[in-house]
Amino acid sequence: MNKAHCWTSLRHFAVTAGFLAVAAGGARAQNASQVTVAVRGGLESFDKAASLDKSWVIGLDAMYGINNWLSVGPVFSLGRPNTTGSHFMTVLTYGVLNLGDTTNFYAAAQPISVLDGALNARVQLPGKKLSPYATLGVGGYTLFLDVQSNRGERHKVGVAVNAGAGLLYAFSDRAGVTFDVRSSTFTDYDRNILDPRITCDVAVPTFTQCPRVENSLFREDFKPAPKAKKTVMNFLFSVGFSYVPSFFGGGGGGQ
């Protein structure tokens, strides 16, 4: 996925979030029978076994208040990390060995999009200005791989759960800022799909299939990738703008 593709994939997400932000008019903190929208932005730190570099992430929470302390609703996050190239060391060799060949080493990485969404429940302690909260949800994640690196569209879908806590600082009875820390656990994770290298069958002679590019030289000089895991836990640190859209019960209420 190149930069243009990135913008394309983000467009719907941005339009939706922007529309909600504009429609907010004023904002207020959570109340019963109201929808609170929070646009978040921050940094996501992935599990080392996920082979994804840290990346900026944007997110959107839309929580419907069942009462003053409990709310439920969908949450979404979208990040654009690079895969960790050092976990996929690649060699390209030129020349004929008996004449002296030349080998170059590369870290094979690719930019991908990580979208995860969930249905969350949030418990919030009421407060005048500061309101701590905890959240928990179940949903799914999708890894959209780079189209060019993978010679076509390729993605991976799995179940994700998240849990976190945060603090809401209210500017007014309708707006506030959130400081949020959340873990996002991806299940059925498959790091191998992040490997953009051509994989070859070692039982088949090289001259009848793709050239082998895995690093078998100087393996001790490159730190090996962490052991692969089927379940990876990532952490998301974000700051958000929380507000109550006027057409979602924003006409009154407060904390």
Binding site: Q110, P111, L217
Partner: protein, 373 residues
């Protein structure tokens, strides 16, 4: 209104940041380029020679029994190493130390007008009378003559096996039980008319020929690579060295004819390959130092490796820098080194001094020799 602008502005910044990816694809190599080379079989200057046995073909014959030994490819030993000569019986149960007259003939090389290498044998020189010698050379042929009486043998002593052992001192009265690398049997030389010429065998002598071990250098192969400061060689299908020998790797800095500032760099003994480089194969002649690679049947080393990093070798000056393509100044520690060799070394020789027995060799890619990276 201001709040809306703030919200939208923040969101726009985050969205832009999310799309500002760097494409870390296969565009930038990591580190220097690695230059590979293939180790070629050389199998040259292995200890070798022949023995001419002269014996009484009939009871009436009067010509004294003798050995005339031609010996090449032996390395000079250190202060605790002596090639010692013995005469024995066919079963190898009785040996007597023998003394003979040693002659040496050096063979020099020269270049003709076209640059061809010419062999130029020098006159033979009588060195003296010895029962043990210490010095050898890749370019010296020794002729060692033993006549029964002068050798110190009685008329009843057997002279059907000639044996050279490597002893730790010059006072041995019985042959070293294990280091018996060179021998010849009269029976193998087609004895007829009081004469037999047998090839000198190299390996581990045993009284029973079925139990002896003949060293074969030819199955060896390998490859190497130089990557920045790292020099690495990986060899495979090596015969296990004879008892008292080990494999070592050297880098050679050759110089043109007429210059004398060439040099060798002791890369090290062969070891097991990664990730067991800590297991040296120095004692693979006698024990299975690493059962994964040292085999008894067939007696071989399936894989051996040697590796150094120039950063840890004092002989490689760190301040040697070269100009790379694009006038970039880079370190080039192996500048001038032109060859890599796998040699067979005697444990009684001086460690770190390259011996003549060359098993494999390779030319280092010119780009390294020339000092580019």
């Amino acid at each position: 209104m201001n709040r809306r602008i703030l919200v939208l502005g923040g969101f726009a910044i985050l969205t832009a940041a999310a799309c500002n990816e760097k494409r870390a694809l296969l565009s930038d190599p990591i580190g220097a380029s690695a230059y590979g080379y293939q180790m070629q079989q050389q199998a040259t200057n292995i200890p070798r020679g022949s023995v001419r046995f002269k014996f009484h073909a009939t009871p009436a014959a009067v010509t004294p029994d003798s050995f005339v030994v031609t010996l090449q490819g032996i390395d000079s030993l250190g202060p605790n190493g002596f090639y010692t000569a013995w005469a024995g019986d066919s079963l190898g149960t009785t040996f007597k130390r023998i003394t003979g007259v040693l002659e040496a003939q050096r063979t020099d090389t020269a270049l003709d007008a076209l640059g061809n290498v010419l062999s130029q044998p020098q006159p033979k020189v009588t060195v003296g009378t010895f029962s043990a010698i210490q010095n050898g050379s890749a370019r010296t042929t020794y002729t060692w003559r033993f006549e029964r009486t002068n050798a110190g043998l009685a008329a009843t002593d057997s002279m059907v096996v000639f044996l050279i052992t490597v002893e730790d001192n010059n006072a041995a009265t019985t042959p070293n039980a294990t280091r018996r690398p060179l021998w010849a049997r009269r029976s193998e030389g087609g004895p007829a008319g009081g004469l037999a010429t047998s090839t000198l065998r190299f390996g581990n002598y045993a009284g029973n020929p079925l139990s002896q071990y003949l060293f074969v250098p030819t199955p060896a192969r390998g490859r190497g690579v130089i990557w920045g400061s790292i020099l690495e060689v990986t060899d495979s299908t090596l015969s296990r060295p004879p008892l008292g020998y080990y494999y070592a790797v050297y880098a050679v800095k050759e110089v043109p004819p007429g210059q004398t500032n060439g040099d060798t760099l002791f890369v090290g003994d062969l070891t097991s390959p990664y990730p067991r480089r800590n297991l040296s194969l120095y004692n693979a002649d006698s024990i299975r130092t690493d059962p994964l690679v040292v085999l008894d049947i067939p007696p071989s080393i399936s894989v051996g490796a040697a590796r150094i990093s120039a950063d840890t070798v004092s002989k490689l000056p760190k301040d040697v820098v070269c100009t790379d393509y694009g006038d970039k100044v880079v370190s080039c520690p192996y500048k001038g080194y032109s060859n890599v060799r796998l040699t067979l070394e005697s444990k009684n020789a001086i460690r770190g001094r390259m011996g003549p027995a060359r098993i494999l060799g390779a030319a280092i890619p010119f780009v390294v020799t020339a000092g580019q990276r």
